[in-house]
């Protein structure tokens, strides 16, 4: 199939359509996903085409939504769940962390828990403290969970299908500001067309001077930052992690070995975030001997997400923050 231009929201929608069409064990559930089409319109039109049994509006009961998905997953279904905002997953941590993540191991390998939990997160929409969080670091810390975070429409599409195919519980991190971002997408014909397992780190740009690592919306910002840096004659490699657990560090280590400099950026808070893991993983590797200067993190979340636009903006890493940090990093060993 040839590529068409579509938004991330549409690419996700198309992936759900593929899943629902090609596997009768799949179904969708979540708050306001059916009649309303989802708080961000991602599931629009699916009720009409697949019916209320497979596209299920739920009560406002996050614990039951995810617990229900666990029960369905261990008995032969493949639930695809939308948490209306990532922030509400706090109400479903037991089924996610104590159940979904553990059952395969805990029950001796005798069950699988093939569920996908979509988490629309991130700030920049003026929704403030309780509707703007990026909580992926928690899930990447939990053995038994997989965590992915696409940044392009094609990846959104393919990773969602790969996640549905996966026998393990997958936390699918979405950034609300990506939904309207457009790009070329080749829509897959069937679930089976995406069968390579969950993909790892993607190289978005190759450059000799420094390595910028990011994921989700911030990966797009990193690409923009690299363009700006190129105008200054600074040539950056940009890597998009895509999978946060397992973390595909190989390409990061390769790139840092070449460039000698590492900058990791994400919107989630810095302390004990994905950036810490990337830095620790890289300096604990053979890349250690090639490092020219201390790895740098550019992160958000110094405070809970503020409402006022100027404060909110300051609490989220922007393109210029990445550019400035990269410049400082380059200057350090001049």
């Amino acid at each position: 199939m040839s590529a068409e231009t579509m938004s991330c929201a549409k690419a996700l929608n198309a992936a759900m359509r593929v899943a629902l069409t090609s596997d009768p064990a799949t179904f969708l559930a979540g708050e306001d996903i059916a009649v309303y089409g989802g708080a961000f319109g991602v599931t629009e039109g699916l009720l009409a085409d697949f019916g209320a049994e497979r596209v299920r509006d739920t009560p406002i009961s996050e614990d039951a939504i995810v617990g229900m998905a666990v029960g369905a997953a261990i008995t032969g279904m493949r639930p695809l769940i939308e948490m209306q905002f990532a922030d509400f997953v706090v109400n479903a941590m037991d089924p996610l962390v104590n159940q979904a993540a553990k059952l395969h191991f805990m029950y001796g390998g005798n069950v699988t828990v093939p569920l996908v939990l979509r988490l629309p997160g991130g700030g920049g929409t003026g929704a403030a403290q309780q509707h703007s969080q990026s909580l992926e670091a928690w899930f990447a810390h939990v053995p038994g969970l997989k965590v992915v975070a696409p940044s392009t429409p094609q990846d959104a599409h393919d990773l969602l299908l790969a996640a549905v195919n996966d026998p393990d519980p997958v936390v699918f991190v979405e950034h609300k500001l990506l939904y309207r971002e457009e790009g070329p997408v080749t829509v897959r014909a069937a679930l089976a067309d995406v069968d390579g397992g969950l993909p790892g780190t993607a190289v978005r740009r190759e450059g000799a001077d420094l390595t910028i690592v990011a994921y989700s919306l911030t990966a797009r910002k990193a690409e923009e930052a690299a363009e700006a840096l190129a105008e200054d004659g600074i040539d950056a490699t940009v890597l998009d992690l895509r999978s946060l657990r397992p973390l595909d560090l190989g390409p990061v280590i390769d790139a840092v070995t070449r460039t000698g400099r590492l900058l990791v950026a994400h919107e989630a808070p810095g302390p004990v975030g994905i950036g810490a893991e990337v830095v620790a993983g890289v300096v604990g590797s053979r890349a250690f001997d090639h490092l020219l200067s201390p790895p740098v993190r550019v992160t958000g979340g110094g405070t809970p997400m503020p409402y006022a636009p100027a404060l909110e903006r300051a609490n989220i890493p922007q393109v210029e923050d990445i550019v400035a940090a990269a410049r400082r990093l380059m200057a350090e060993d001049d």
Binding site: I60, S61, A128, P306, A308, L311
Partner: protein
Amino acid sequence: MARLDPKTPAGARDALRTMWTIRRFEEALEDLYSRGMLHGTNHLSIGQEAVAVGACGALEDGDLITSTHRGHGHSIAHGGDPMRMMAELLGRTDGYCRGRGGSMHIADVASGNLGANGIVAGSMTIAVGAALSMRMQGTDAVVVCFFGDGAANEGSFHEALNMAGVWDLPVLFLCENNQYGMSMAQDASTAGGSVAARGAAYGIEGVEVDGNDLDAVFTAVQAEVARIRAGGGPGLVEAITYRYRGHSKSDRNLYRTLDEIEEWRTERDPVDRFEAAAVDSGRLTVDEVDEVREEARAAIRDAVGRAVRSPEPDVSDLVDAAYAQVPEHGR
């Protein structure tokens, strides 16, 4: 003594003015939003004014409320200053939260508004703790916990009512049943159908009331609050009402008919009904009603005018702001 008594002319006037203030406040927000001056989203309570005003009017000084994402009406009815609320929504330093919280987080703890909350049912267990706190501190204060019909399906609802029940706490759970969650009709989301009836599960006798009838809300809440204040244990009131606007800004009303909305607006509007009742019963004259309307309009015009002149916060405001006290080694 209750803060207002709508059965008296003065109380009726106060109640009507507050209802109009809420409505005008929400309308002002719609206006600012359409002019691109508001960011984020907000949840308007137009159509639900009688619940907030009737309930908060039945409280006494020192009583507390907890509120929800749809909380502008609660805040105003509890005595909040529309200028400071508007400043909050505009993200200005004069806002109740210095512009940090926005629509879903307006709070004024000092005056007993423990806060709006962006998490559905998120304030229900907080209300339980506040009630315990009031009792441990030897006050006879009552906490009114507003929540929506959708919230009644959260686990927090259950744990909150049970804990309040076993500890016999002075808290009134007040459900604003506006028939829908974000899009889900209450009867599709709520097994058993009734929120008030769920009280029995916790030994609480639930009370259902017409939430668009201010006098009825006032009377029901006043009776419950008195019972609770006297040590009778927690209460549960379900006020049946309706929201006219979409859930939030992105709503296309796919889940209900325009006829339904129209019927509630024209047949059961709480402000219209109270005006008629007040005039019928001789509490207010038609002229007084017009006056009150004008007062509310002027008050909101003034609030907006002052709020837009409030300064924007500076990013330096964020330094160490997540904590009340940062240890030396944390700086």
